[in-house]
Amino acid sequence: MANIAVCVLGSLGYDRAAQGAAGAGRALAESVGGELHALVIGPAENDAVAALAAVADRVVIGANEALRDYQPEQALQAAQQLHAAGGGDYVAVLLSNDTYSQEIAPRLAHRLGGSSMADAAAIRADGDHLLAQRTAYGGKAISIYRLKKQPAVVWLRARGFEPAPEQPSPGDITTVDVALDPPRIRITGRQVAAQEGVRLEDAQVIVSGGRGLGGPEPFEELRELADTIGAEQGASRAACDAGWVPPNWQVGQTGKKVAPELYIAIAISGASQHLLGMGDSKVVAAINTDADAPIFKHCSFGIVEDYKQVVPLLTEKLQSMAG
């Protein structure tokens, strides 16, 4: 039997990323003629478990209370034991792209004697192997990797995949108790950054600012524009590195991978590392003084002008259109 597992953290629930990972898993399971299993690290809300059972053939939950509070060493131990409890004969173990899944994936692959791969935007079976597509060289190239060992443990650019379809009948739910050692690295404190509105990854409209803004103050002006059209605010790495805005605003290769209906890039030149984070946007608009800026090769419409001239006027016009 060649089954596919999707491995999720119970505390994160069945969010859009988990839905995408399960969707990728179902498509892969169908192509190899196997089942889709969901391996859940830690207790999850009832509705999340029900939602997983609706799309998977089997759900295996490591429900130890200790796993509610994520610790990397214990999450890894749980994932390894859930893998065995689910049957252990997986062609692939797929994860989402939250921080925790990203750090678990290569280590789980090593423990299972499999292949590891990160940030896959597409995945398919090819004989005994899996092929995973992702970007390389900071977004300048696309690479396809052949994953030679089973299981292929891959974290996905999960929100880019269609959610898994519900099955005619829900999958079996098994709860197991996993053996956990005390962790030698212990997360002792969490500060969740103030989050107004929805997560950047789930935003439908994003207004992002870049190096060209020159300082933190113009982001206030951009906020007014964002509020007018119900947008969340993002930034380029340059703006975050300079400390103008918090690091969790960063869109790009090493920041958030966003997929809004509309992405407005203001004073962002469009370095490939940034394009990589916003490449899944449906419509991109740009405001930049430099007509040769790469962003203009990756947007549907734009204006070659100083943002200082454009933004106040634009906000005013959009306010009157909305009003």
Partner: protein
């Protein structure tokens, strides 16, 4: 205390897209006129280690380790010019793009060799990913090779209560962790670990610092599997995407007209979302 920082030499990632080319036979980027540089997250790791030494105020020794071509000696010299104490280069011969599993095995063997001679490293620091392939698997795989606990996306190490206090970035904020040595961290960037520019005097001094060279044979790893470096994955195909779109620029005689056009387009899209 002893810290070890792993470095990777890569093709300068700031090569403009218009100068970027693929070598189809090698399935990798063509070097062209690009420089070889130290991967930025590895330099952030060096800076993070140096700041830990400064905060600890005591006896902290920092070693830099690289698995690379002989040209990678430049990365190690630069790290020593940033005031890392000593360096080790494991010379690579064979595949110029070995996968993370092979790199993890080589680095682990080199770390064990250095520990035999000089005692255990309390912390191993690895960049979160490289600016060339960017697969970001080396740190995790190395942690497993060494059998040490690990934390990803760390931005600072501080002396803690009997251990080391780690601060790291997650997708929703910041986490603080306590680590018992020995452990491994992958390092990400923030505004506080921007790599320092070496002082001229330190650049000169770096040539007097010890740089040990090891071969795969020295580490008893001179196998085809390691040289080839494709046991768990390999590049099947690589290409430059051609998804550039036609941008419609706002036109009009006055700024007012141009901004009006832009506003209408934005309003259209926003209204369609509902």
């Amino acid at each position: 205390m002893k810290l070890l920082v792993c470095l990777k030499q890569i093709l300068d990632p700031d090569v403009p897209a218009r100068d970027f080319q693929i070598d189809p036979a090698a399935k990798a980027a063509r070097r062209g006129g690009a420089n070889l540089v130290t991967n930025i997250f590895c330099e952030n790791a060096v800076e993070t280690a140096l700041q830990f030494r400064e905060a600890a105020g005591g006896d902290v020794k920092i070693t830099a380790l690289c698995y690379g071509e002989s040209s990678a000696e430049d990365c190690l010299r630069k790290a020593m010019a940033m005031t890392v104490d000593e360096a080790c280069l494991v010379e690579r011969n064979g595949n110029t793009n070995p996968e993370a599993a092979a790199v993890g095995r080589v680095l682990a063997a080199a770390i064990r060799r250095l520990e035999q001679d000089g005692g255990p490293f309390d912390a191993v620091l690895v960049g979160r990913e490289s600016g060339d392939w960017g697969v970001g698997q080396t740190g995790g795989l190395l942690a497993e090779e060494l059998g040490r606990p690990a934390l990803g996306f760390v931005e600072s190490l501080q002396p803690g209560n009997g251990g080391v206090t780690l601060r790291r970035q997650t997708d929703v904020g910041i986490e603080v962790a306590e680590a018992e040595a020995p452990f491994l961290v992958t390092i990400t960037n923030n505004e506080d670990n921007v790599p320092r520019i070496p002082k001229t005097r330190d650049v000169m001094m770096s040539y007097r610092k010890p740089l040990q060279k090891l071969s795969l044979a020295d580490l008893e790893l001179d196998s085809e599997e390691i040289r080839d470096g494709s046991s768990i994955f390999e590049v099947e195909e690589i290409f430059i995407p051609t998804d550039e779109v036609e941008c419609e620029l706002a036109e009009g005689d006055t700024l007012e007209e141009r901004v009006d056009q832009l506003a209408k387009r934005i309003h259209e899209v926003v209204a369609s979302i509902g």
